[in-house]
Symmetry: C2
Subunit: 302 residues, 2 copies
């Protein structure tokens, strides 16, 4: 599964590589970006030079929100200095297939193109290409391991809004794949909010089928302390989750419903640290403010 | 000269205020953004709350490049953590009048709208509104002092590309106004490069009239060490200049010509630190990499 490098740019001492590849999961070309820190003082300008360093870096996967691409966090996240300082890589997939031709995929900004919701769709017209769950949990990690100087056995996941939902769901369902998880302003209980209901109805045929993609429900089902599997699960993956949300986020009450995460965590075994950041909104100004702390959180666990 | 606050957003512990005002220099409404650090732990969310802190902050004015607005450095500069750490404010004007209706102002991306070049135009059709030099050196500083908790007697200036040119020119001609100056990939010798020749011809009627807006020529005329005015000039303003440029910048040879700055500095009295950053390009990935260092440079001198 070769990649085609579209551009490389030096930033914060490391290298940002944008590439495309033919995705088997999605059945279309996909674009993604990877930031590689540098191990020394050499001015690394190509992927080949980065590989020649002989270092495999741990990696944080970043899942973006509605309407976004791999570019948003790269351009607006202010994250590269922290990544370089912690010698942590960043992998940024797109948010949906592009050009699938599914019925209605271009009709609204919160469904279809740019709004894949990190699920494997089952509905007619979407089932063939809208398979972002398999893409980010299986195909992309394997590609990262094969094509980049990365060690995906030390991989965490984070994201924003729809991507925060994606990060929590992908990690809770794959604690062996993602060893650390955090989220910014996640759509925390999509089965019960307008964005989630629209997405699950369109991609999965209904909300019931979306329960396996609902972070609050998954969190409640996480093994309890009494559960014999609890320590094994924690050893295999992560046992704590960091979530930030702004109190001035205009989507907080109707769409995000982060209190559902707290309720889920009370019933399950994963420890949740939910921080309500006073006065912050839903934008990348909020994300960029706390992303360096999330980088440190992941780096410590990877 | 009242302002109309368009939005306020918390970022990196401080407050980003976007506002518009009726500009007397330009004769049109102008939009700008100001970042205010916070002095304490309070979650400041409005300009009134920021003023109530009772602190007047030193300020760095940021001049953006071709096609940009006040938004570019705010969204892509990764600069707010450094500004908050140094308790330094940032003031970001637009790059030109908007909607002047000057002949041909929308015909190309490197002249007219979004490309004011920080000059006071004298040509027919442009002289009335394209007066960005007066705007950024006089009107905006007075407005910042009157409407924001800022101390413009401690003001520096920096910028990128066309804005790097603007920063150098504004500071060299107004060392009493700007107490520190730096630049990223500046158009260093506009009288001799295609962008500059086009701009000076269109705004000023020719390249000769542009000599007063050419940083390399101005730098060569700066008072020498033998000059009796030298120490007075240095005391009034700044005596050193920091410039960064990437060696992979595609505009380096034809448009930027930073070597002319070095030649000018050899003849004048201002000390120039010109750093050629290996492998970096012309983008905000380059700017964001070194902007925290520039913030520290300015903060030390303000």
């Amino acid at each position: 599964m070769p990649i085609e490098v579209k551009s490389t740019v030096r930033v914060s001492g490391g290298l940002l590589v944008k590439f495309s590849h033919a995705s088997s999961a999605v059945g279309l070309p996909m674009t993604a970006s990877v930031f590689l820190p540098s191990g020394g003082d050499a001015a690394i300008s190509t992927l080949e030079e980065a590989k020649a360093e002989g270092i495999r870096y741990p990696v944080l996967m970043w899942l973006s929100g509605l309407t976004c691409t791999d570019d948003n966090v790269c351009q607006k996240g202010g994250v590269f200095p922290a990544l370089q300082a912690h010698k942590l890589a960043l992998a940024c997939p797109d948010t949906s297939p592009r050009g699938a031709g599914a019925p209605g995929e271009e009709d609204s900004w919160d469904f279809g193109t740019g709004a894949g919701f990190y699920v494997d769709a089952t509905t007619e017209g979407y089932a063939m290409n809208y398979r972002m769950y398999t893409y980010v949990t299986q195909e992309l990690p394997a590609l990262l391991q094969a094509e980049f100087p990365l060690d995906v056995t030390r991989m965490g996941v984070s994201g924003h809004s729809m991507g925060g939902h994606g990060a929590l769901v992908c990690a809770l369902r794959n604690p062996g794949t993602f060893r650390s998880v955090s989220a910014f302003a996640p759509i925390a209980h999509p089965c019960a909010c307008p964005w989630g209901v629209k997405a699950f109805t369109g991609y999965l045929g209904g909300v019931e089928a979306g329960e396996e993609y609902d972070a609050s429900l998954l969190l409640a089902k996480a093994p309890t302390a009494d559960d014999s599997a609890a320590s094994a699960a924690a050893a295999a993956g992560f046992d704590d989750i960091l979530v930030d949300v702004g109190t001035a986020d205009c989507f907080l009450e109707e769409q995000l419903q982060v209190q559902s995460l707290e309720q889920g965590a009370e019933r399950g075994a994963r420890k949740l640290t939910l921080r309500r950041q006073p006065g912050y909104d839903h934008s990348y100004y909020f994300v960029s403010t706390f992303l360096p702390e999330h980088v440190a959180f992941h780096a410590k666990r990877l």
